[in-house]
Symmetry: C2
Subunit: 131 residues, 2 copies
């Protein structure tokens, strides 16, 4: 791999390719990618960002095809990273409300951009996929 495209664009590399840089053993970009790279995390943040506070079953109904187990797992992970806040009210039946933290809203903004791009370009992608 000497004198290939890899060697030619060092500046570009250094700017873009953070995937192999680690900060005390953790690569920030990879870490975030790993967190959002599953079927439900993005949709969950998107739901919370779009509606504000939501209860567990409200998120579940909005997403539609997420299982109870996977929504629980997803929300716990988001909570652990400080992207989502969980408020339990001592009522029966239980009431649990979820909200994005400021950090979560920051990610939401990125996802809104991504969703916008997805909308604008979905027809092109569909056309490729068939032809």
């Amino acid at each position: 791999m000497e004198n290939t495209a890899i060697d030619t664009q060092k500046k570009f590399q250094n700017f873009f390719w953070k995937a192999n840089e680690t900060r005390n053993g953790v690569c920030p970009v990879r870490d975030i990618i790993a967190r959002i790279s599953d079927k439900w995390t993005i949709l969950t943040i998107y739901a919370l960002g779009g509606y504000g506070t939501l209860r567990f079953n409200e998120i579940k109904k909005l997403i539609g095809d997420v299982s109870q187990r996977m929504l629980t797992v997803t929300l716990r992970n988001l909570e652990a990273d400080g992207l989502v806040e969980r408020h339990v009210y001592a009522e029966v039946p239980p009431r649990v409300e979820y909200t994005l933290t400021p950090l979560g809203y920051g990610l939401m903004e990125q996802l809104v951009q991504l969703a916008g791009w997805a909308e604008d370009n979905s027809q092109a992608i569909m056309k490729n996929r068939k032809g």
Copy 2:
């Protein structure tokens, strides 16, 4: 789910929540999310976007921990959607080069935004994760 937060933000909903809207049976946002929501797609696009044209094994070495099989699968999917172009040169040993299409570069731009956010906020996320 009547008269909850869900009913209160219709405009916000209509703007943000495209995840349940379908266009001839396909939801653009969900479709894109499904495509990028795996461990290797984002990293692959990121590599190609950062370095321009790359050969199979160059991508593999850059990412580092992707298996041959999964990189093949990832690249084939990206190719099928028109995000990546695959050029096979009739040489021995074979030479296969991959490049982002304009569509792929569009997605790359979104991912660069996302990666920027990830870098800026990784410390905050790490702090939450431990405490």
